[in-house]
């Protein structure tokens, strides 16, 4: 159906308004981050500050631990994602392709447990990690992250595996391929886009995770980006232009990844919820 010009512009305006509502706050953060202390309180507020400089970024990147927070986040998120997939892929494959007793019960249990937020379990998880002597280590964090995200990961992977054509697998079986070989050379290549979606979704969740990292880490050197930036708000006085610069640095990797990989992001987001 051809649209009349006013209606076409109506749609464009509507979309532009939506985009503005979600982008302007982020642009304001960027604006604050290149201001100096006086500029932050300038009245009337300016979007393009008079003497914009990258001094805040220089300070944050050279005099604070923010670069290490980024590294820590990358390391923890990467390792946790690897562990999640390593444990999750075989389990999801078996749950999808094999028939065995208690399988149905296990699938239902997974669906229920994946909804439980780790937030609820902060106290016992703290006790557990303390008991394992893994407080204030990235290993402890990785272990917990991978565990709490596994049910979701497995159920999404399972739905991807379920959707693969049975004939391909049947052919593999007739060829006498082992289960491992089937998974490695047939299933994984076919399910690669789904696998990528899950991996990216897990990475993003780990990158953003706050409450567990806050509770399980003590040494600032080991903080991840959310906890590190939270600690930028001082108890006595907060320099918002520095907080803004630090926050913006925290956003950049996620945004970059998101722009590059948004197709997978969205797939990961929908996959767990809306199945085929």
């Amino acid at each position: 159906m051809k649209l009349s010009t006013p209606r076409r512009w109506g749609f464009r305006l509507g979309l532009a308004l939506v985009a503005a509502a979600f982008l302007l706050p982020q642009l304001w953060l960027a604006s604050i981050s290149v201001k100096n202390k006086a500029g932050v309180f300038e009245f009337p507020p300016r979007w393009l500050p008079r003497d914009a400089s990258l001094a805040n970024y220089r300070f944050v990147l050279t005099r604070t631990q923010v670069p290490w927070y980024l590294w820590n986040s990358a390391k923890v998120a990467g390792l946790a994602t690897a562990l999640t997939l390593l444990a999750g892929v075989p389990a999801a494959f078996v749950l999808s392709r094999e028939r065995f007793p208690r399988r149905e019960a296990a699938v239902h249990a997974l669906l229920a447990v994946q909804m439980v937020s780790p937030m609820v379990l902060l106290v016992p998880i703290y006790g557990l990690v303390a008991g394992l002597r893994l407080l204030d280590t990235h290993a402890g964090l990785v272990l917990v992250y991978a565990s709490v995200q596994l049910p979701f990961t497995i159920s999404v992977l399972k739905s991807f595996f379920d959707a693969l054509p049975a004939s391909v697998l049947e052919a593999a079986r007739l060829d006498g391929a082992s289960r491992l070989r089937t998974l490695w050379s047939i299933v994984l290549p076919l399910a690669a886009p789904g696998l990528a979606a899950v991996a990216i979704f897990d990475l993003a969740s780990y990158w953003a995770e706050f409450s567990l990292a806050l509770v399980l880490l003590d040494s600032q050197q080991r903080f991840t980006i959310p906890v590190g930036i939270f600690s930028f708000q001082s108890g006595y006085e907060t320099d918002w232009h520095l907080v803004a610069a630090a926050s913006f640095i925290g956003l950049v990797p996620v945004m970059a990844a998101f722009v590059l990989l948004q197709r997978y992001f969205v797939a990961g987001l929908t996959a767990g919820a809306v199945k085929g």
């Binding site: 649209l3 953060l29 937020s117 930036i229 970059a256």
Partner: protein, 759 residues
């Protein structure tokens, strides 16, 4: 883009750049030094301070220390938030993981002294040098036997800052203050008087001098709370009534309820928005650097106004370096480090920047900055009337409850009487509990702790065991996932239930099995308030996210179907908000909503003629702000789900609707809604769970304030467990949350399994 490049450059260069430097963010000292000491520094008292000037001076001081101490290196950490600093130290003490050196607020000392964790410094600290310190700093930190347990680093006092050009003379009494401030706010349209009334320590401590000057006492000689009983009750009521009157009389704006750091006071002063504020001595340098010389000349300080003109009073605080290291070699190195940092010269240099008042007498004598500066002479005089908070274990509980009382009284939500009596009752309960608590120490062995372990193992085995014969090969495929889930998910769930029936503390003291946690919770009026807050937050967020998400999805879908625009940009924009970590969303919205006229949202509101509004300090608006921030972040999830749902509506249906000439609403109701109903149901369950467990966004945005008006169940649980260290009570709250989570999960599962209309 520039930021990305910078970031990459720094990420590559950062760790390498530090190798030959003596002071890097990660290490102080030579990388090859054999002895490594861990240091937990105060937020504004190390080279990691988030404020460049302070970071700079410590950079210099630490480098000089490092140059003369090649055998020692330091790992310095700063804890997020002051409350966290204390809680983390207590948890570390319990786990035997205390750092070698730490900075503690002086009023926390009894907590650490009681555990025998703090080490005496006499052996390394010459008597003559100790004599240079202000006497109270040594006395407070000594035991009966003459052992000194810490090096006080800087003190402060609270004063009234006021504009000389607006006030010929500073008010001495509350009545004068209310009158002056009321007049100025009416005539000048700026805040007459600002102070801290947000939910944090300063809301109480800043006002204690008003209570002390009337002869009020918080605790008796034995350390038991007495502030709510006659004659102290009357005195505390006077203070609360005065605070209420600051709002009623128009002397102060309601935004004081959102003041939860001193920066908000400084920035109001720098912005020319306030005539008087109750602040701290350390704010002076900020005013001086923030204001032009001519503007700064308008400011002066005066003693805190009191109920009646009479005795002055101010509160003095201060931080203390303590050594936890038990090994003599480490102790010696630690003491040497502290005494270098706190040498007379360094104390002078550091205090000059931090604005703290030095505690070394020689600094006032030998350092021109302090000797000749009239401001410091006057702070020094005020310090004479200074009083520290009582160093008793119950003080944190008193402060926590009085913070709420201040919030309630100022917001007018409770009368001062109600607010005080509620706080008094709560503190007495804590006191009874603390005194009735079993002596510290770990419970020897509790067989009940094995129950959750056994159950989790049984559950795991019940999946693995039936895999026999040909299927036994499957075990290896499932076992890793099963192990992880059993250990770090199922076991904690079961253990949570056990913990909820105990009165255990997070730092693992002895405990007993009891229903007290649930009973206390159910009889605590604050619990129901918090449930109410949670319901409003969750219901509004969910409805808005779903509604807006659906609206945006419909808009994009309609635009796309008609070829108006591909709408990729709008979709990306919405989802970009969703990928931002929650904490950053909180920080971002805090910056947007900041309550001075330079805050962007308030600026727009005032352009529109409806602002500025107390967006974070009024109970209603703060809730609205938190909901708005959460909706902003969460919309994307609903939008994507709904959009996916809309894509599955066959084109023919839309074409049929077009042929029928169906209007927008009938089309939505008759064509769209039936098709996406299952997705909506699922979406509803998912975002309800997400919202129910959200606190990362709220913590930086309002921290649950004003008073408790944005404290949702998850924040309440987190606070109970990791600020107040009441693990048993937190577990009871978490069990309630767990039940809600699982109930919603079942609802979601049903929405999923419901047969979809054929496509």
């Amino acid at each position: 883009m520039v930021a990305t490049l910078l970031l990459l450059a720094a990420a590559a260069a950062g760790p390498a750049l530090g190798d030959d430097a003596l002071v890097t963010p990660m290490r102080v000292g030579r990388a090859d030094a054999p002895l490594t000491l861990s240091v937990w520094a105060q937020q504004d008292y190390s080279h990691l301070a988030a404020r460049p000037a302070i970071a700079g001076i410590f950079h210099d001081v630490f480098r000089e220390w490092a140059a003369t101490h090649p055998g020692v290196q330091l790992r310095v950490s700063v804890m997020p938030a002051l409350e966290q600093h204390k809680a983390k130290l207590l948890l570390a003490a319990a786990a035997g993981r205390l750092p070698d050196i730490a900075s503690v607020d002086s009023f926390w000392m009894p907590l650490f002294m009681a555990g025998g964790h703090v080490q005496a410094l006499n052996a390394w600290w010459p008597e003559a040098d100790r004599a240079d310190f202000l006497p109270f700093t040594i006395q407070t930190l000594s035991d009966g036997a003459g052992n000194v347990y810490g090096v006080w680093h800087g003190t402060d006092c609270r004063v009234l800052y006021y504009r000389k050009d607006l006030l010929p003379a500073p008010p001495r009494t509350w009545a004068e203050l209310l009158e002056d401030a009321g007049r100025i706010s009416r005539e000048r349209r700026i805040a007459g008087y600002l102070y801290n009334a947000g939910r944090w320590e300063a809301a109480v401590f800043d006002h204690l001098p008003m209570f002390w000057a009337q002869g009020g006492e918080l605790v008796d000689a034995a350390g038991r709370p007495v502030f709510g009983a006659p004659p102290n009750r009357e005195r505390m009521l006077n203070v609360l009534a005065f605070l209420r009157d600051t709002i009623r009389s128009g002397a102060s704006p309601r935004s004081v309820l959102a003041n939860n750091d001193y920066q908000q006071l400084t920035s109001a002063a720098v912005a020319g928005d306030v005539a008087m504020f109750l602040g701290g001595s350390w704010q002076l340098p900020d005013l001086r650097t923030g204001l032009s010389a001519s503007e700064f000349a308008k400011w002066d300080i005066a003693p805190i106004p009191q109920k009646d003109a009479g005795p002055e009073a101010t509160g003095t605080g201060g931080w203390v370096w303590v050594v936890f290291a038990r090994d003599p070699e480490r102790q010696k190195a630690a003491a040497e480090f502290l005494l270098t940092v706190e040498s007379p010269t360094n104390v002078g240099r550091i205090s000059q920047i931090t604005g703290q008042l030095p505690v070394r007498r020689s600094v006032y004598r030998d350092f021109a900055f302090f000797r000749d500066n009239p401001w410091y002479a006057r702070f020094g005089q005020m310090l004479v009337h200074g009083r520290a908070r009582p160093a008793v274990p119950i003080y944190p509980a008193i402060s926590a409850q009085l913070q709420l009382a201040v919030g309630y009284a100022v917001s007018g939500e409770k009368t001062p009487e109600r607010a005080l009596d509620d706080a008094w009752r709560a503190v007495q309960e804590v006191d009874t509990r603390q005194r009735g608590a079993p002596p510290p120490g770990r419970r020897a062995f509790d067989p009940a702790t094995l129950l959750p372990v056994a159950l989790a193992m049984l559950l795991a085995l019940s999946v693995l065991a039936p895999l026999r014969g040909r299927q036994s090969g499957l075990r290896a495929w499932i076992a890793p996932a099963l192990l992880l889930v059993s250990v770090a998910l199922v076991y904690p769930m079961l253990d949570l239930v056990r913990l909820s029936f105990t009165d255990t503390r997070t730092h693992g003291t002895a405990y007993a099995y009891t229903l007290a946690s649930f009973r206390d919770l159910l009889t605590d009026p604050a619990f129901y308030g918090m449930i109410g807050v949670t319901l409003v937050f969750v219901a509004s967020s969910v409805v808005l996210q779903l509604g807006l998400g659906l609206a945006i999805a419909l808009l994009i879908d309609a635009a796309r179907r008609r070829g108006a625009a591909r709408a990729l940009g709008a979709r990306l924009a919405v989802v970009s908000a969703w990928v931002i970590p929650g904490v950053l969303v909180g920080v971002l919205w805090r910056i947007l909503l900041v309550e001075n006229r330079a805050g962007i949202v308030n600026y727009w509101l005032s352009l529109a003629g409806v602002g500025p509004l107390p967006l974070l300090s009024s109970a209603t608006l703060a809730m609205a702000s938190v909901i708005a921030a959460n909706t902003w972040r969460g919309c994307a999830f609903s939008m994507i789900l709904q959009f996916a749902g809309l894509q599955r509506i066959p084109r023919e249906l839309h074409e049929a609707a077009d042929l029928e000439g169906l209007g927008a609403w009938p089309r939505f109701r008759m064509v769209v809604l039936p098709m996406i109903a299952p997705v909506v149901a699922l979406n509803l369950a998912l975002i309800t769970i997400q919202t129910l467990n959200t606190f990362d966004l709220i913590l930086p945005l309002t921290a649950g304030g004003p008073a408790r008006r944005t404290e949702v169940i998850s924040l309440y649980m987190y606070r109970s467990a990791f600020y107040e260290l009441e693990a048993g009570r937190a577990a009871a709250v978490a069990v309630v949350m767990l039940a809600l989570n699982l109930a919603l999960a079942v609802a979601a599962a049903q929405a999923l399994s419901r047969p979809r209309p054929a496509a």
